[in-house]
């Protein structure tokens, strides 16, 4: 099981109050920026839930 991103809540990274905080927190490289939007790399996700806990938009969940 990997995390799920609610793209509506997430929006563009330039608008993120944490300036893409989840990308910076994830040391597994499971979250990256592609064309200004957040993209999940499922094979890298270790389900640590750091992104879920720290997303300022509450846009990431366990599904």
């Amino acid at each position: 099981m990997v995390v799920v991103i609610d793209m509506e809540k997430c929006g563009q990274i330039k608008d993120c109050p944490g300036e893409g905080l989840c990308i910076k927190l994830c040391e597994q490289g499971a979250l990256k920026e592609v064309d200004g939007e957040l993209v999940l790399v499922p094979e890298n996700c270790d389900d640590c839930d750091l992104c879920i806990q720290n997303c300022p938009n509450q846009a990431i969940s366990n599904g």
Partner: protein, 334 residues
Amino acid sequence: MSFVVREGKENRSLTHKNEKCVGCGICSDICPTTAIKLGPILPIARGLLKTDFITIDENSCCLCGLCASSCPFDALELDIDGTNTKEMINYPRWTHDASIDSETCIYCGRCSTACPQDAIFLHRSLPEVKELVRGETEVDQEKCIQCGVCEEMCPADAINMDRNDINSSNPSIATSVDIDESKCIFCSICKRVCPVDAIKIVCTTCMERDEIVNPEIEGDIILDEDTCVKCGWCQEVCPVDAAEVTKPFEGEIFLRDDFTCKGESCHACADVCPCNAISIVEGKSTINPSFCILCGACAKACPQQGITLKRKNMNLENVKSKAWTSRLADLLED
């Protein structure tokens, strides 16, 4: 630093010093009006967000000072008419403490190296090598072929070759050899390796042992109370029991059995711990209770709520108000 100030019959002001705050959230847990909110402590601790660990809502803060009295790090202070409540006879006082007895201290520096808050400053003066050894050296510059073998072999780094000026036609050729007697330990390695027998070394240290005074290491050790978190590292590593620490809380801390710690993927607990008490061992968070002060920052930072702490006692005395006693009891195990 943030403030809440209100003037009335008394002038009260609450000050939060973020540089002393560790983000443990005890204040936000205990605030009776939920005026204190704990921020995202992990991104702050990792330096990804530049903001204070807590925010205080000025409108709902009732300036009671319970947060200031219960903060083990003195990151919050309540002043009433200019006097800090921690100096008032009717307010609680922490009895947690750390001290280093300078009479017993041998200035080894272990505590200073181990202290996770860099709160221990050591200054020591060591005797000079030349005060502890005796001997004579002599280099026959006529015989010396400036090969540099002695310089390379000297274990005390006491031999220097004087080389030609960098701008000369042959800068790598040395012109003479010099033994620095303030560094020389008269071991005679140079003498033994010299291919042309140009060096004479006589060691008289053993013969003159009685004349050489036994070295005494003097120094100063200072523990900065302001930054010390009473974690116990100094006490644990001190070889002569000169450091004594009383922690703010007594109790236990453990990882819940029913969750899978993500170890190196996460390490949020280790990053927020002010005591360097947590490390990731074999892919799992490992908390060393010897250094844990039960502040609870790790439990707040764990994204899976996998850390449980049970505080059995807090070293806060002189709690006179019944309401405060009951509120403070919420920090302890039921």
